[in-house]
Amino acid sequence: MSDAAALSNSHDDHGHGHGHIDHTATSTGIENKKLIMWLFLASDCMFFGTLISTHLIYRKVYPDGPVDPTVVFNIPLTSFSTFILLMSSFLMALAVSAMHKGELKSFRNNVLGVVFFGIIFLTCQVFEFTEFVYGKHDADGNLVWEGFTLSTGTFGSTFFVLTGTHGTHVAIGVLWLIGLYFYSFTGRMEHDIHGSAMDVEVAGLYWHFVDIVWIVIFTAIYLVEFINFT
């Protein structure tokens, strides 16, 4: 029996003929898990908003710090990271869609893809941070530019706190999705397909949020540095 057929036979009867399954009756008509996740994301917007503001303001007040972002930022690497995160968002959307269709195998494949892309993103960030801390050397071992840390001026502090917080969010998302992947093998998802689809959707919301935060960081923190306003 296919995953979809197995899942369809294990459904509870709550459909209303809209092509969408409404299960839990709440006063808002929205599942509590989803509502709470959206509230959390709204609060997280404000959290990242303050971090981004802090970085931009310190860049404005202290434009000539010990670090020149146009020299140290590796735009090809960051662009690659951005592309990877966007594609992971795409796969996450497919994973949620697969779960709503009851296609467990497709869900697993897509989630594995998201986890893989998430790990690539984190690897790129670790590489970038390592380069920032130890500085860059050419092929002969000569120092091209000196490294900087969390305590190297305001730039180091605000940059590492902002991108590090985002990286932590990505890491939590990866762990969450790995958990969901292994959970899918316990057989419990087949028994409550709607509840499981909601769990996956909530995880997906978190993952997409991580992606949109990076869209803002990539533009406001990385790309804007390369615009010569003088």
Binding site: L41, C45, K60, Y62, F83, L86
Partner: protein, 126 residues
């Protein structure tokens, strides 16, 4: 067969429609990212480049929250909740940027403030 089982093909049809939207959106976002990377190296007016980047980012942002995050398929309340957070965050960023946008910012005052924080830190730790 249960009622929902009978409705499942309808769900699949609806999800398949989304699938094509997701693929198109994925490609569109990849193209926008490519444009962003190229634009910063164009010899254009810096403010033009800035606004092009800002608009492209807003488009990407809106596309992800609308389709990938299902806001277009969900109830309006969720959009309002998220927009409340977004407006507060954007308002904070904008207000702070405007406050610090004057060129005669008293850097010395900021430094004195920081010195005060540094001085108070050991006391607060106690």
């Amino acid at each position: 067969m249960s009622e929902v089982s009978a409705l499942l093909p309808e769900n699949i049809k609806s999800e398949n429609k989304k699938y094509h939207a997701f693929i198109n959106l994925g490609l569109f976002l990849a193209v926008l990212t490519g444009i962003e990377i190229v634009v910063i190296f164009f010899p254009w007016n810096p403010w033009l480049i800035f606004w092009v980047l800002a608009i492209l980012s807003i488009i990407k942002f809106v596309c992800v929250i609308t389709w990938f995050m299902h806001l277009v398929y969900d109830k309006l309340l969720l959009t309002l909740i998220f927009m409340t957070g977004m407006i507060l965050a954007t308002g904070t960023v904008t207000a702070l940027m405007l406050l610090f946008s004057f060129d005669d910012v008293d850097v010395e005052a900021v430094e004195i403030l920081e010195l005060g924080v540094l001085t108070l830190r050991p006391l607060l730790a106690l």
